[in-house]
Symmetry: C2
Subunit: 261 residues, 2 copies
């Protein structure tokens, strides 16, 4: 990179019109050359879904002439956006991929449901340093201003230091508050799960349907090295995330079952 500006791919899962991605684009333009490839509609909870049996649209967005970045609106998932950006839209692999800023938390087990993080993971599988940013505020008119210095600082750190092969970052940021952000903590993912309820209704034609209503259950409220704890204390959590999902510690135990041959 030396003299040249870094090439920054920006995506998200809330869709290209979300205030969170607009804020991220504004920040990234202070750091490098920005290309946005983001879903044309909200894709929250899409996880690592990809389009398999359907076509993809990916159209350039008309931006005012004085705007210095390019943007594309894609009919696919966040993972599709990263794939088509890297293989079809950009002239070269980006120096970094940033995803977000998500409207809502992607801490703990949320990482596996999150389209925001899956976009970052997809970039990671292609050897691109990547960060998913999420704000603990689901509202569409969430205030992102207090995130700015931290988002830029983490992005610059990754551009400077790189990331280990097979690792991307999951960054969660407390909601704006009077106390402000206390700082940043490198954490592990808290053990947690979602406990759903399904509200039963009947449609106008008499057929039953269900609305899923989830409750987040943190299984380790006292683990002080977890993302949930850091966030609860007013810190930004930074979790290094891998996509080798092998439970290496479990291999020996399974071998002891003597099912191998």
């Amino acid at each position: 990179m030396s003299q040249e500006k870094p090439l920054i791919l920006v995506t998200n899962d809330d869709g290209i019109t979300a205030p969170g991605i607009r804020h991220l684009v504004k920040l990234m333009k202070e750091i490098g050359d920005v290309v946005v490839v983001a879903p044309d509609s909200p894709q929250s909870g899409m996880g690592h879904a990809i389009t398999v049996e359907n076509l993809l649209y990916c159209d350039p967005v008309d931006l005012p002439k004085n705007v210095k970045h390019k943007a594309y609106s894609c009919s696919g998932t966040p993972v599709d956006c990263v794939k088509i950006a890297c293989r079809k839209i950009l002239d070269r692999m980006p120096d970094i991929c940033v995803s977000g800023i998500n409207h809502g938390s992607n801490s703990a087990i949320n990482v596996i449901y999150s389209g925001t993080m899956s976009a970052a993971v997809e970039a990671g599988t292609n050897g691109i340093p990547a960060i998913g940013f999420s704000l603990l505020d689901y509202s569409w008119d969430a205030d992102f201003e207090h995130t700015s210095e931290y988002v830029k600082s983490i992005t610059r750190s990754v551009l400077k230091n790189g990331l280990p092969k097979g690792v991307v970052l999951n960054v969660n940021i407390p909601k704006k508050s009077e106390e402000g952000i206390r700082g940043m903590k490198v954490c592990r993912q808290a053990k947690a799960h979602w406990k759903e309820d399904f509200i039963n209704r009947t449609n106008p034609r008499g057929r039953d349907y269900f609305w899923p209503v989830g409750e987040f259950v943190n299984e380790e409220k006292n683990g002080k090295d977890t993302d949930e704890y850091a966030l609860s204390q007013g810190y930004i959590s930074i979790v290094p995330v891998q996509f080798d999902m092998t439970a290496h510690n479990a291999i020996e135990g399974l071998k002891a079952w003597n099912i191998e041959s």
Copy 2:
């Protein structure tokens, strides 16, 4: 369980009418009481997607009177199926959740795109022992007969031994061949990625669209402890999969950036 038959939840991502799930149901009925909750349409590549802003249908399937299991067809993703099965359909948590048998491989990095495996992972987050089974044959009329003894053996082993907390199994099975299956190997996930191409076409109204066409790239052809290697040698691969995605080894390196406060 002792005298009682185990309660087995069966799901998949190819949809409830797929031959792979029919074969799995047949095998599971030799082991326990079976309830099927599976998508009403193909959901390949859905990853860990969940339904967030939409309703879910989940209707009982009319089965012949002499059939001893129950089946439900769900409009959601594989993960939705597991959630609604556990929280709304079953009277109690199942003793095991089996997903598949998938038409096509879910080895290596495919684990993160796979609806089959995401269903198993979702069960795992709820503390249910879970296995995803996949056959290395994409065709709808794939022959599943040679998988039977192995699928039953692995399922019985899991029912007997349990699985460590936070671990589910990703089982991939070679396509039927004259040589037959050589045995089973406990493996780690091979490092790999997908390299896409996007075929450009124009729709009848003049708008460009793209067809994604992926090429699987195995990055470590010589790693003899990987699932890809075992499969290439005619063995069934069994990978213990975790959903703590923290790259624990990377935490110290990140702390050395001195971004914490």
